[in-house]
Structure formats: structure tokens, C-alpha cells
């Protein structure tokens, strides 16, 4: 956990107070909607189909139990008793009144929570691995660097009116759980030959209308120069990114149009000028930030304790969940528990205030009071003693939070879609729940194995459809919902975009088609260990095309 000091707390409170004034000026008519919109967006407030939506940041995906209870309270008092976790370590409330927004932000600020730069054409909430600090193979805790970047980017004087939004993600392990290749800047912590820690920098990744994978900009930026290097990139982008067309304004288009070599030359020139100036990070600054990350005092424990072994042998449902939802921790005797927010038949990524309160209590008892949020729209308890796993599971199960479907077909990434979103062309959530219900028999889903289905309700790709093993994109034709299907995408270190299977299909045919695609895979796979994504990689989409056509 990062412990906010007086400066941080004052900053967040003053930002909430500033927004209170902005809302008052809007409600009094001093600000027009055109003037107010960029102001509300850079504080996470959207106007959706039915109501205002507030997107609250969960910096680097880490929450304390106190913060989670605060989120539950806001949901209960100001919303309809639930919230929606997004793919970028945020939580969204769908039903908050603009006139209540200042009180909500003041209340959140009491727990060190805020909505700063969760939208708008600015540097967004910095995201990273939800297993940061506990993954066995990381270079160092990437949250530490995400916090450095949070400080650098918060109300940055120069980079708050960029051509378009700007997303940065950090990975610290060989396996990328932060989707850094589809961010405007992807940072990977690396060690050079001398053993020094620094960053590999990718630029120009992103999904949306024109998807691009990030391109290598630099193989090693020494850590003390991280801020000056990013500042050089952002300055180049602010000056040269396109502003004539909203769909061509992301840095990925600049990279595409001028080429990464030209961008690199411009960035290096600016960096050379500023790298040894006042943005150079010194050891005392880094030590100060590091010192405010508090880790639990781990007990000396051994892996696979007797209590766990007995429970696994005695309770098959527990054993199933354990195999699915518990990952290796860097400390022996501990585990990382993924809490699925994909119960069958429910909107993916949603959690009720009651569930969040229950989870906060469980975090206090079993996980040093800490909760994590990942980009797959699930939560995690990062510090669970293996001997406590059985007791934890029984309580999660009672709260509806133990669906053992992590990484299975029903663990879908899904945007809110036309049921909430004013940009959407088609619904996403009912497609997701229908597919999940079709595969509600988790024995069947397990026999299918790891399979990521990502669903977006429009081309903006909030549901990351391009990088789903199966991607589903909602489009609209003559006021009817249709869906394009892609196969073979992935978001990790081997990121690639899926290939289009064929013409879009109507709403009513999506679930049957997905089932036929899965059945086709079961016929085509060479062995039970060949994953869906590997079969698609081996054979391409061609043999799956027949699944588009129902046999009548």
C-alpha cells in the first residue's frame, strides 16, 4: 500500500473543492456545456444514456479495505448499490447526479480516492499488473513507478489539453498482465547488462478504430531519466499530434504518419536538452516514495501446508476453485487469490456494495487489508496464507464471489455497451451473459480451457475486442444490432490483433455462433493441451468460417 502524506491528501481535497466550484458555475449558467465538458471529463464525469457516470481511479490497481468500503458506501448512498470495474483499474458509478458529484468527490477524498484524469485529453490513470509486488518473477514493484508517474502527471501544466487521451501502462514481469503493447506508452521494467534497472519504452499502441501495437522507441531508459524521457515524448506529441480529426489524434496515428524513427529523433533531441535538468530523479526522492509503500509482515511459512492439502482432498468444489483462482506468490506459504467478478448470468465486472463490503472484511481477515483490481475486470486478494484458503473460499462462495471461471470462456472482458453508453452502437452485456449461460456448465468450460472472449459495443473498443482470443464487436445496421467476430487476438507480451471471421451476424445468432466456434476448436485441436489461441494460430481463421453459418 502507498500511504498518502499531508501533501497528497491536501491535493486531492483541493481538487474536489475546485470541481465543486466548476459544477456550481455550470449549474448557475456561468459555464456553457461546451466549456464545462472538458472540465468534467478530466475529473471522470461523463453523461451517459440515462444519467451521469463517475469514473473513479484506482491507482495501479491497489485498494485498502477502507477505500473499498468507501466505494461501497458511495454506491449505496449516491448510486443504485453497485459499481462497474473497467479494464483500466477504475471503477464506474452509473447513476450519480451532477448536483451530488461534489459531495461524492469530497467523500471519496476522505479515503484518499479521486477521479483525477480518469477521462479527458490528458494523461490518464497509470495502470500496471494487478499482481505487482507479489508476483514471483518481477524486476521490482512497478507500482512504485506508477506512483512516480501519478505525481508527475497529476494536473501537469503542459499536458492537460493534449490532442487526445494518453494512456500509460507498466509491466515488471516477463509475462505482461498490463497489456502494455496496446497503450500510448508501454513501459517494461528491465535490467541492463550492468544490472541497473531501467525501462524499455514502447510507443503508439492502442485499440479503437485504428488498432496499432506499440513500437519500440528505446530499449533502455535509465530509471533516473524516466520523467524527462516521458516529458520529451509528451511534448513532441502535444506539439505535433493531429488536432483536425478526433479519430486521428492519438499518438499512434502520429507514429504511423511520421514513422517511429522521426518521432524518436524529435524525442531524443528534446530529451538531450532536458535529461540532466530538474526532472532528473535523485535517490532521495525515489527513497521517499519507496518508503511510503508498506508491505505486510510475512510470516515464515511453507508452501502446501497440511490444512490446505486436507481441504483440497476433502472438498472437490474447493479444489476446483483453488486450481482455477489461486496463483503462486513470491513468498512461500502465501497465495494470490483472483476474485471473479464474472458470476454466470451477471454483468461482467459489476459488484454490489454488499459484495464490496464483504470483500473488504475478507481482505482485513485474510489479505493484510489489501485488494487489487486487474484489467480483466476481476479483483484479487494479494496476500492470503495458503492455510487460510479454505476458510476464505467458503466466505467468498457465500458472497457469490467464488465462480471458478478465471481465464475460462465466461471470464469475459465487456464494455458497458448500449445499455449504458452514449457512444455505443450495440449491447455488450446481454451478449456476455448469454454466452456465459450457454457455458454455465463449468466442467464443459474447463474442458475448453483458457479462452478469452472480449466484447465491445462500438469501434472505440473499450471491451478490447481486437485482443480477445474471440473478439466480438457490436455494429449497427439500419437500427439493428450486428456483431463482427474476430479470432486469434491477444493482449500479452505476444500481443496481436484478431482476424475477421466474416460478415457481421445479428444479435440473435451470436451465442449459437460462439458455441459453434468453440465446438469447431474442440474438433480441430491436436490435443487437450492445445489452447484455442494456439489452434487459431496454427490453422488461421479459415477452418472456423463454417461456424458463421447455421445449419438449417
Amino acid at each position: 500500500m502507498y500511504v498518502y502524506d499531508e501533501f497528497d491528501r491536501t491535493f486531492i481535497a483541493e481538487r474536489a473543492e475546485q470541481f465543486r466550484d466548476q459544477v456550481a458555475r455550470r449549474l448557475s449558467g456561468e459555464l456553457t456545456e461546451d466549456e464545462f465538458k472538458p472540465l468534467r471529463l478530466m475529473n471522470g464525469v461523463y453523461l451517459q444514456l440515462h444519467a451521469y457516470m463517475l469514473r473513479v481511479a484506482i491507482p495501479y490497481g491497489t485498494l485498502s479495505s477502507t477505500q473499498l468500503r468507501k466505494i461501497a458506501e458511495v454506491g449505496r448512498v449516491y448510486d443504485k448499490g453497485y459499481g462497474h470495474f473497467t479494464t483500466r483499474q477504475n471503477i464506474q458509478f452509473n447513476w450519480i447526479k451532477l448536483s451530488d458529484m461534489p459531495d461524492v468527490l469530497e467523500s471519496l477524498a476522505e479515503a484518499g480516492l479521486h477521479a483525477i484524469q480518469t477521462s479527458g485529453n490528458c494523461i490518464r490513470n497509470i495502470t500496471t499488473d494487478q499482481w505487482a509486488g507479489v508476483a514471483p518473477d518481477e524486476i521490482e514493484d512497478p507500482r512504485f513507478w506508477a506512483e512516480v508517474l501519478r505525481q508527475w502527471s497529476s494536473l501537469h501544466p503542459e499536458f492537460t489539453f493534449l490532442p487526445r487521451k494518453f494512456k500509460i501502462a507498466i509491466a515488471a514481469t516477463p509475462h505482461d498482465r498490463a497489456a502494455i503493447k496496446v497503450h500510448d506508452i508501454g513501459l517494461r521494467l528491465v535490467r541492463n547488462d550492468a544490472g541497473e534497472v531501467g525501462f524499455e519504452v514502447l510507443v503508439g499502441g492502442g485499440l479503437g478504430r485504428s488498432p496499432f501495437l506499440g513500437k519500440f522507441l528505446r530499449d533502455f531508459v535509465p530509471r533516473e531519466h524516466l520523467i524527462s524521457y516521458l516529458e520529451a515524448i509528451l511534448r513532441t506529441y502535444n506539439a505535433h499530434g493531429r488536432r483536425d480529426n478526433i479519430y486521428k489524434a492519438r499518438i499512434k496515428i502520429l507514429v504511423h504518419e511520421i514513422g517511429v524513427e522521426k518521432l524518436k529523433a524529435d524525442v531524443e533531441k528534446e530529451w538531450e536538452r532536458i535529461r540532466d535538468g530538474y526532472l532528473k530523479l535523485d535517490d532521495a526522492f525515489l527513497a521517499d516514495i519507496r518508503s511510503r509503500f508498506v508491505y505486510p509482515e510475512y510470516e515464515p511459512l511453507e508452501d502446501a501446508p497440511e490444512e490446505l492439502k486436507r481441504a483440497l482432498a476433502a472438498d472437490a468444489r474447493f479444489a476446483t476453485w483453488h486450481a482455477n483462482s489461486v496463483a503462486r506468490h513470491r513468498e512461500p506459504g502465501y497465495g494470490i487469490v483472483t476474485v471473479s467478478l464474472k458470476p454466470i448470468g451477471k454483468p461482467p465486472g459489476d459488484a454490489t456494495s454488499g459484495q464490496l463490503d464483504a470483500l473488504a472484511d475478507l481482505a482485513d481477515t485474510y489479505s493484510a487489508g489489501e485488494i487489487r483490481v486487474g484489467h480483466e475486470q476481476n479483483l484479487a486478494l494479494p496476500h492470503v496464507r495458503q492455510k487460510d484458503l479454505y476458510a476464505l473460499w467458503r466466505k467468498l462462495d457465500a458472497a457469490g464471489l467464488a465462480t471458478p471461471n478465471v481465464n475460462l470462456i465466461s471470464d469475459m472482458i465487456t464494455c458497458p455497451g448500449l445499455d449504458y453508453c452514449s457512444l455505443a452502437n450495440a449491447r455488450s452485456i446481454p451478449i456476455a451473459t448469454a454466452i456465459a449461460e450457454r457455458f454455465a456448465d463449468l466442467d464443459k468450460a474447463r474442458s475448453v480451457g483458457r479462452l478469452h472472449v472480449n466484447i465491445s459495443g462500438c469501434i472505440n473498443a473499450c471491451g478490447h475486442h481486437h485482443v480477445g482470443h474471440i473478439g466480438i464487436l457490436g455494429v449497427e445496421k439500419n437500427d439493428r444490432e450486428f456483431y463482427q467476430i474476430t479470432l486469434g487476438g491477444k493482449a500479452d507480451e505476444d500481443a496481436r490483433f484478431g482476424d475477421l471471421l466474416g460478415p457481421a451476424i445479428p444479435y440473435d445468432e451470436v451465442t449459437d455462433t460462439i458455441e459453434r466456434i468453440v465446438n469447431r476448436y474442440l474438433d480441430l485441436r491436436q490435443s487437450e493441451s492445445e489452447l484455442f489461441i494456439d489452434t487459431v494460430k496454427r490453422l488461421g481463421v479459415e477452418p472456423f468460417k463454417e461456424a458463421l453459418h447455421a445449419v438449417h
Binding site: L49, A51, K97, A398, G400, A402, P404, D419
Partner: protein
């Protein structure tokens, strides 16, 4: 069309002027008297493009009440009904039950299909 900014004033049938209320975001519709109502029944239904454009312009002057007014299709029968899925969702809410802490909402069975 799904996106209000893309709307030109070509109308193929009855329409209303709709928006969201500034203070709370609630869906509202413009009435024949130039006021706003949460009920589509109260909305002024217009059938000619120039009438719709005039009503839209008048609505745009109501910036302290209504945000983002636009022309939305309706099915006009005895009382107006939303004319497409987007407007139906704006009128009736999401097309699935909202998450709830009501006791029956979550079943602790891994394969449990949850009753709507």
C-alpha cells in the same frame, strides 16, 4: 443513428426532441409548450423536418435545463413509443436486471443460473 452529433435533419417519420437534464442526467423530452418532461407521453411529436429543426433550436437555448438535445425517432400511436433500441433503452433502462444485494440475487453454486 446512434450518435447524436451525426444527425442531420432528415427525418423519416415522427420525432421528438430529447435530452438529459443538467442537474441529474435524467432523460427528458420537450413538450409542445416548450417545457421538459420525463414522460415521453408529454413530448411534442413532430413530423416535418423544418418543425423539428425549429424545436431543436429552441431546445438548444435551454442550456440550463437540458444537455445535448437532439431529434429522436418515435413510433406514434395513441401515445408515443421510442422509435429505436437506443431510445427504448433511454426510456426503459438497461435491458437486464441491475445488480442488487437482494438476497436471491447471487447463488453460491458454480453452475447456478441466476433467476432474473
Amino acid at each position: 443513428m446512434a450518435h447524436p452529433h451525426q444527425q442531420k435533419l432528415r427525418i423519416n417519420g415522427p420525432v421528438v426532441i430529447t435530452a438529459n437534464r443538467l442537474a441529474d442526467g435524467v432523460v427528458i423530452h420537450r413538450t409542445g409548450e416548450g417545457r421538459w418532461s420525463e414522460s415521453l407521453d408529454d413530448a411534442q411529436v413532430v413530423r416535418a423536418a423544418d418543425e423539428a429543426l425549429a424545436a431543436l433550436k429552441a431546445a438548444q437555448a435551454d442550456g440550463l435545463i437540458a444537455v445535448g438535445p437532439y431529434v429522436a425517432p418515435v413510433e406514434a400511436a395513441a401515445s408515443a413509443r421510442p422509435g429505436n433500441l437506443r431510445e427504448k433503452i433511454r426510456s426503459d433502462g438497461p435491458t437486464f436486471p441491475l445488480p442488487s444485494d437482494a438476497p436471491a440475487a447471487y447463488l453460491p453454486k458454480e453452475a447456478g443460473k441466476v433467476a432474473a
